[in-house]
């Protein structure tokens, strides 16, 4: 379990499984993902991809605020894992977080679901 805490945002990633390396990695987001925490989040997610993560489920129930600057790390993550055959799923997002993702047209790039299980299932398809 790796954790990053910076500028009002806490990111916690589930450990990689040696038995099922392709299994989705779940990253829990809590706090605010905005212009202040954007760079730290981007680094954390890049490190995650560098360790072999291809399918990433972003568990957003604790994410209180998401801005355009905060969407950038998610887009970068999508750009990194898509060519590797992976994908990104956002689950349990609060209404305004979900709304921003939908308004931004990200629905076409990542799956948006209600639970982690649904997110994992969407990535497995």
């Amino acid at each position: 379990m790796s954790t990053m805490q910076a500028d009002g945002l806490v990111l916690t990633a589930s450990p990689a499984s040696s038995e099922t390396p392709d299994a989705p990695r779940v990253v829990a987001l809590a706090g605010k993902l905005d212009a202040n925490s954007q760079i730290a989040a981007e680094r954390f997610l890049e490190d995650l991809v560098a360790t072999g993560a291809r399918r990433v489920v972003l568990e957003c129930s604790g994410l209180e605020f998401l801005s355009s600057a905060g969407v950038r790390p998610l887009l970068t993550l999508v750009k990194r894992v898509k060519p590797l055959g992976g994908g990104v799923s956002v689950c349990a997002a609060r209404p305004h977080v979900r709304q921003l993702l939908e308004f931004s047209g990200l629905k076409a790039l990542l799956s948006i679901s209600s639970t982690v299980e649904e997110g994992c299932a969407a990535l497995a398809r």
Binding site: D34, S67, R72, K79, Q99, F103, S104, G105, A108
Partner: protein, 525 residues
């Protein structure tokens, strides 16, 4: 005229001056086509031409202050490069001195003619194509009219008994004479009017020629103070013009003032002593003294030419909005190679897109992401930059003979048109969202639209900057049709979820503009 009459006249003068200044700036921007710029630059293509233009401007306007602000307008509109404008400003000073003594032109009457004819011209539909020129002329008219009213408001100062009393009190002090000259110039706004008064005082024997000359030298510092005071609203290159005028006049005034002080110790002859050897009359002596001081301005400009950029850059740093208005990549030289030119156009268009988030600042939810730029200035700068790109593409299209390249250029022109519409759409959407009450549900929704637009624009910028196919794929996916999505938002709004009917109407309008923004982002990409 009483003080009660002078004050409204003074305020009216200030209002007309600033109206004129804004009018000149706005109209010159409308005139700033590439061909007009080429003509304007040709007019100052050599130091000699710049000097002739400066003397002419100075002679016609009879005001160093007016010339400074006219030049500031020309530089803001990018009709003249700053370096040449600095030469024009420097040479305008001797121009003002020349006609101030010949008094061949009735400036008041000419100003009224300018305002009358330009104003009527603007009302005439047949002259619509000349609106920018007429607007600039009307602006110059207002600016000069404002200065004339300021001078009229100061007339009681000249007529008052105490003015003569103070002038006589100066008789013992050269330094006080210098300071009085500076202050009088700020109040009266006319060096030539001060010279006329000094001639009268000298003629009556109330003031010595040395003291009168020192008052004249002091007016140089006064010109500088006036330009700085009136130029408070200017920024960047326009402000640099004001400071340059102030520096040149202060330098020439200080140089001649110091000479006069040294001459008082009998170490060297004073200017009046030298002139006395060939004296015609006091009037001519003072006239020559004033002209010499004004001629010292271009001399100071020449001596400071290598340091001007550093000095002015420190005094008036370039505003981000001004830098944005200036093309960074487009250059006449690259017109010869359309392939390179197209690449540079794309980079310039990416600059436009990268500045668009500043228009969203007032509407976004994330205050930390705000650029801190003034959206009105950014919008104006993007208008200027967009016109530059469009003009460049038009020149490129006119010169291109190859069919395939021509098709590419046509596509870039279409993209530029879409980009101009995108700027307008984003700005209008942000304005609409900004009208919604803070912390309301409607405002949160509007903020979400602004944040989403920012995400799209970021991806569009990356695609234009890097030409990476991954960015293009992202952009295509993100800019899919939003009709259904926005229709659902609109249904909720009409259903009463979003506050007052006005707020609901604003949300409906903002969603339409968001849809348009998405569509235009796709077209630009």
């Amino acid at each position: 005229m009483s003080a009660a009459e002078s004050l409204p006249l003074f305020l009216t003068g200030l209002v007309f001056f600033f109206l004129g200044l804004d009018g000149v700036k706005a109209s010159l921007k409308g005139l700033a086509s590439r061909s007009m710029r080429r003509r304007a630059r040709a007019a100052v293509s050599s130091p000699f031409r710049a000097a002739v233009l400066g003397v002419t401007f100075g002679a016609l306007s009879q005001s160093a202050t007016a010339v400074s602000f006219l030049l500031a307008g020309l530089v803001s509109a990018r009709l003249l490069p700053l370096t040449r404008a600095l030469s024009v400003v420097a040479w305008a000073n001797p121009g003002t001195a020349m006609l101030a003594f010949l008094a061949a032109v009735n400036l008041n009457l000419a100003t009224l003619w300018l305002i009358g004819l330009a104003g009527l011209g603007l009302r005439n539909r047949k002259l619509r194509s000349a609106n920018a020129v007429l607007g600039a002329v009307l602006g110059i008219g207002f600016l000069l009219f404002g200065l004339t009213q300021l001078k009229r408001a100061a007339a009681p100062v000249q007529e008052a008994e105490w003015f003569a009393t103070i002038s006589v009190a100066l008789n013992g002090s050269l330094v006080l004479g210098f300071i009085a000259g500076a202050l009088l110039r700020v109040v009266i706004q006319s060096s030539s009017a001060i010279v006329v008064i000094l001639i009268a005082l000298c003629g009556k024997g109330l003031l010595g020629v040395e003291q009168a000359m020192m008052v004249i030298h002091g007016t140089g510092v006064g010109i500088g103070l006036s330009v700085i005071l009136l130029g408070q609203g200017l920024r960047g290159e326009a402000l640099r013009i004001s400071y340059w005028q102030a520096i040149l006049n202060a330098c020439s005034a200080s140089l001649l003032g110091t000479w006069m002080l040294f001459a008082a110790t009998d170490l060297l002859p004073s200017l009046p002593e030298l002139l006395a050897r060939v004296r015609v009359n006091i009037e001519t002596d003072l006239a020559i003294g004033f002209l010499l001081q004004m001629l010292c301005c271009p001399l100071a400009g020449w001596l400071l030419r290598r340091r001007s950029e550093g000095i002015l850059g420190t005094l008036a740093p370039e505003a981000a909005e001004d830098a944005l208005a200036r093309p960074r990549y487009l250059d006449e030289g690259v017109l010869e190679d359309s392939e390179i030119a197209m690449d540079l156009v794309r980079r310039e268009q990416a600059r436009v897109v990268s500045a668009l988030p500043a228009l969203l600042d007032r509407a976004r939810l994330d205050a930390a992401a705000a650029t801190g730029l003034d959206h009105r200035e950014v919008r104006a700068a993007l208008g200027s930059l967009g016109a530059e790109i469009a003009g460049f593409l038009a020149d490129l299209a006119a010169a291109e003979k190859d069919h395939d390249r021509g098709v590419q250029i046509a596509s870039a022109i279409a993209r530029q048109q879409a980009l101009a519409e995108l700027v307008e759409s984003v700005d209008e959407m942000a304005t609409a969202i900004d009208r919604l009450p803070a912390d309301s549900m409607a405002r949160m929704l509007g903020g979400g639209l602004a944040e989403a637009s920012d995400v799209l624009l970021g991806t569009l910028r990356e695609w234009l900057e890097r030409s990476d196919s991954a960015d293009r794929d992202l952009l295509e996916a993100m800019t899919s049709d939003r009709g259904e999505q926005m229709e659902s938002v609109r249904r909720n709004a009409v259903g009463g979820e979003f506050g007052s009917p006005e707020d609901q109407a604003t949300i409906l309008y903002a969603t339409s503009l968001f849809e348009r923004t998405v569509y235009l982002a796709r077209r630009v990409g």
